[in-house]
């Protein structure tokens, strides 16, 4: 029982939760707001991780300083995909179902291409590097520097994003689009630009998440899928398109995972995670923080 | 003979009281109008009758049988059909298929030996949609979609037809046509009609009796003339200026 109260567990829950929140935010921009079923989201995390690994091993640049560059790389991929594939889909497809089905296929294709291109370029061997792995002790709490930084960076970014959405014109545009795309057009919102913004933000954030992941995990071209799953779980729990709901859900998921394992057994980790998820949707189909629809 | 009996119906959404102790009856062969400002609880009442929402209190009876607690499809089979204020055609089906589906699943499937297609065409002919039979339902104009709502409801072979603002948004010419259509189908199918309508003159024109809801409470019931002269109705409906 001492374990449950230990700051160590709290720290781990926060690290995991903030990473889930970060990954969820990225997907929320693309799926939550414009309903593109981005199952390549985790692959952007992978690209971010490789970018961080590459910067570190080739140039000796710490991912902490390389973050803007890494986010830039994945954001550019996002912009490229928007103009190359999705702009027309978004403009021409009338029904949400059709858009979801087609985007699922498009992103499936994108995912396969990204994974296998990386495999071709860098082989499928796992990669890792040693960086920022000193342990800092503060009053009985031991923290690996990289994990502490991951926590700080994730929280800063999700906080900044939710503030940005709350107080900027762009944020208003996004929430208008979520509520009603056609109405948003009528009141003069440039829907195309907001969508492009969603791609850039969503993909950029995924890249940052990847850089943070690369500090603590081995990376490989096929590492992305679990992150895609985690992101979907988070944004569904938080309510599609509900950015702050997703952030809370992400952190909550981290806590559920860490504390349920501590309370029961690690054996049940995945069952608990998916069990909570399945039960939550069945009982509250609109997400934990969504409003019931009448 | 009483066809539809509304007994002490009440409905709450959270703290909000949408309907409160509503009582009335609709008799066989009548056309009864339901009137009230936005938010008066008209559509909620329809939803309760058709089984889409359970009432918080009270009972709905149809031909003496309790309908409350039954599912919408069972209520449909009992002989009640409804249209929706916000039209809800079956997407990905043609106009004809929409009506055919209603005939297939409504209570009147075995009422006639004629092929489905012919029966659907007959109904579409009556509402004036026969030329659009093969159109995808989504491609219809608003007035077309309103007509399709009526046609689909007719397809189920109802005794009681609940019409929810089937004339809202139509041009005066279209409204006039729709009135004719409704009178014709009523006679032809021996229907009882219970209708919500915003425009009072239209409603008065069509109805034998009118019921007025205000904030979920029935404030008046009577012939169109009686309603027009009712003090309470004038106060809440035609503006407080008169008092």
């Amino acid at each position: 029982m001492d374990l449950l109260l230990s700051p160590q567990l709290l720290f781990s829950a926060l690290v995991l939760g903030s990473l889930y929140a970060l990954i969820g935010v990225g997907l929320n921009f693309v799926y939550g707001t414009i309903r593109l079923l981005n199952i390549a989201h985790g692959d952007l995390v992978m690209i971010g991780a490789y970018a961080a690994f590459g910067l570190f091993t080739a140039l000796g640049l710490s991912p902490m300083f390389g973050l803007p560059l890494i986010a830039g790389i994945t954001a550019m991929i996002g912009a490229g995909l928007y103009f190359g594939l999705f702009k027309r889909q978004l403009e021409n497809t009338t029904s949400v179902e059709q858009l979801e089905a087609n985007s699922l296929l498009l992103f499936f294709g994108v995912s396969v291409i990204l994974q296998n291109t990386m495999a071709l370029l860098f082989t499928t061997s796992p990669r890792a590097y040693q960086h920022l792995d000193y342990v800092i002790s503060i009053g009985g709490l031991d923290m690996t520097l990289s994990r502490l930084l991951a926590l700080v960076v994730s929280l800063t970014i999700v906080f900044a994003i939710s503030m940005f959405l709350k107080f900027s014109i762009y944020g208003l545009g996004i929430s208008a689009i979520i509520q009603n795309r056609d109405a948003a057009k009528i009141v003069g919102i440039d829907v195309g630009r907001v969508q492009l913004g969603s791609f850039i933000l969503g993909f950029g954030v995924a890249g940052i998440a990847g850089a943070l992941v690369s500090l603590t995990e081995q990376i490989s071209p096929f590492m992305g899928f679990p992150f895609t799953i985690a992101a979907f779980v988070v944004i569904i729990l938080g309510g599609l398109g509900n950015i702050s709901g997703g952030i809370i859900a992400g952190i909550l998921l981290g806590f559920i995972e860490i504390y349920s394992v501590a309370l029961t057994s690690a054996t049940y980790r995945s069952i608990l995670i998916y069990g909570v998820f399945v039960a939550a949707i069945m009982l509250r189909p609109q997400g934990l923080f969504g409003k019931a629809q009448t | 003979m009483t066809l539809l009996q509304i007994e002490k119906i009440g409905k709450s959404f959270g703290g909000l009281r949408a309907l409160n102790d509503v009582n009335f009856a609709v008799n066989n062969g009548e056309t009864v109008g339901l009137m009230g400002a936005n938010g008066a609880g008209k559509t909620t009442l329809f939803s309760i009758i058709a089984g889409h929402q359970p009432p918080t209190d009270g009972i709905v009876r149809f031909k003496g049988d309790q309908m409350t607690g039954k599912r919408p499809d069972q209520i449909c089979h009992a002989g009640i059909a409804r249209t929706f204020q916000i039209v809800r055609p079956f997407a990905r089906m043609t106009v004809r298929e929409n009506v055919e589906t209603a005939i297939l699943f409504g209570g009147a499937r075995h009422a006639s030996n004629q092929p489905l297609e012919i029966r659907a065409k007959d109904i579409l002919d009556q509402v004036g949609l026969v030329d659009q039979s093969e159109m995808p339902s989504g491609a219809l104009t608003l007035s077309g979609r309103k007509k399709l709502e009526v046609a689909r409801a007719l397809g189920t072979g109802p005794e009681l037809l609940l019409l929810d603002e089937v004339m809202a948004g139509l041009t005066p010419a279209e409204v006039a046509k729709m009135l004719d259509t409704l009178r014709a189908i009523k006679a032809d199918h021996k229907l009882t009609i219970f209708i919500i309508e915003h425009v009072v003159s239209t409603l008065s024109d069509l109805s034998d009796r009118i019921i007025v809801l205000h904030h979920g409470v029935k404030i008046a019931e009577g012939t169109p003339r009686e309603i027009a002269e009712n003090k309470d109705v004038r106060t809440v409906y035609f503006g407080g200026d008169d008092t």
Binding site: L37, L85, R88, T93, V96, E100, A101, L105, L106, F108, G109, V110, S111, V112, I113, Q115, N116, T117, L120, I229, F232, V233, I236, L240, T267, Y268, S270, I271, Y274, G275, F277, V278, I281, M282, P285 | A50, H52, R71, P72, D73, C76, A81, R82, F84, R88, F90, A91, R92, M93, E97, E100, T101, A102, L104, F105, G106, G107, R152, A153, T156
Partner: protein
């Protein structure tokens, strides 16, 4: 009359395809038996998916759960039950599972349903993984399974059965009800369709054949491992094939399966290094060029000719 003619064409085409599949071993050798087996498997899986998801619009991203449960049933009962009992039992287990989760799961619509089904399949995967660990069975060996030909013949039977079932359901009153549910669920209730019952029936029906397919495929691998048979990419592939082919028509899944199976067959051996990349590119090109699927293209072509 046109209905009859197209029915005739469909069943004739199906019979030819099945006959060809049955004789592929003697015509081209063992390798093509495996290809034919794959093809038949994907038809059976995609057709069953389309039966529910294609008609009702409830897109399931977790159909591997039925496949996996069937496979697990056969693996557990291997050498205990005769296969002619075990394989149908796999279907039954899958169908019973579908029936159990149907009511709560089918209250959920749209994107939430998509992800819910995925979550359910992962939940079952990890539950069975734990069950196996608890039983001390980290893996199971299935030596002495029937030959590839025997499995192929049964699989062809399932592919045909699923196609015929889809065709029959689509043209039945029941199928009309399912399509109405896709159109508008509330309206469907209003015109007298017992919506919940239809959804539950459709969902259950769509689980049975995949369960049997999973059971058969378990026999193709000597080594049963939970992560393999509950691989979510099976679900993804099913949905991909259904979208490519078109999923509200029995021809769609056959076309979709054919497209993907033969495209990858063409690519993997000729360009092993680039094959997956090319496959991804083809998928993208396909959506951009034929957003309504192969059946959509076929229909357009047909209309162009009849006018």
């Amino acid at each position: 009359m046109t209905v009859l003619r197209s029915d005739l064409a469909f069943f004739a085409g199906l019979a030819i395809l099945a006959g060809f599949g049955l004789s592929v071993g003697s015509l081209f050798g063992t390798y093509w038996v495996i290809v034919a087996l794959n093809f038949a498997m994907w038809i059976a899986l995609t057709q069953s998916w389309a039966l529910f998801s294609g008609l009702t619009g409830y897109i399931s991203l977790g159909n591997v759960v039925f496949y996996g449960l069937g496979a697990y049933t056969v693996a557990v009962s291997f050498k205990v039950l005769p296969l002619w009992v075990a394989v149908p039992m796999g279907g039954l287990v899958a169908a019973v599972f579908a029936l159990m989760i149907a009511v709560p799961a089918l209250r959920v619509r749209g994107p939430y349903f998509v992800i819910l089904t995925f979550g359910i399949s992962e939940l079952v995967k990890y539950s069975i993984l734990n069950l196996e660990t608890y039983l001390g069975k980290s893996s199971r060996l299935l030596f002495g399974a029937p030959s590839a030909e025997a499995v192929l013949y049964t699989m062809i039977a399932l592919a045909v059965a699923s196609s015929v079932l889809m065709r029959l359901v689509k043209s039945s009153t029941f199928g009309r009800g399912l399509v109405a549910i896709q159109g508008d669920e509330t309206s469907a209730e209003t015109v007298g369709i017992p919506v919940t019952r239809f959804k539950v029936m459709g969902f259950t029906l769509s689980a049975f054949i995949p369960g049997m397919v999973g059971g058969l495929m378990a026999l193709r691998s000597t080594y049963f491992e939970v992560l393999q048979v509950f691989n979510p990419f099976i679900s993804f592939t099913i949905v991909t094939m259904a979208i490519i082919g078109g999923s509200n028509d029995a021809r769609g899944p056959i076309l979709g399966a054919a497209f993907l199976v033969f495209l990858s067959e063409l690519l993997w051996s000729s360009a092993p290094r680039l094959y997956m990349i090319l496959l991804g590119a083809f998928l993208i090109a396909f959506v951009l060029l034929a957003p309504s699927g192969l059946v959509g293209l076929l229909r357009k072509y047909g209309e162009g000719h009849s006018k």
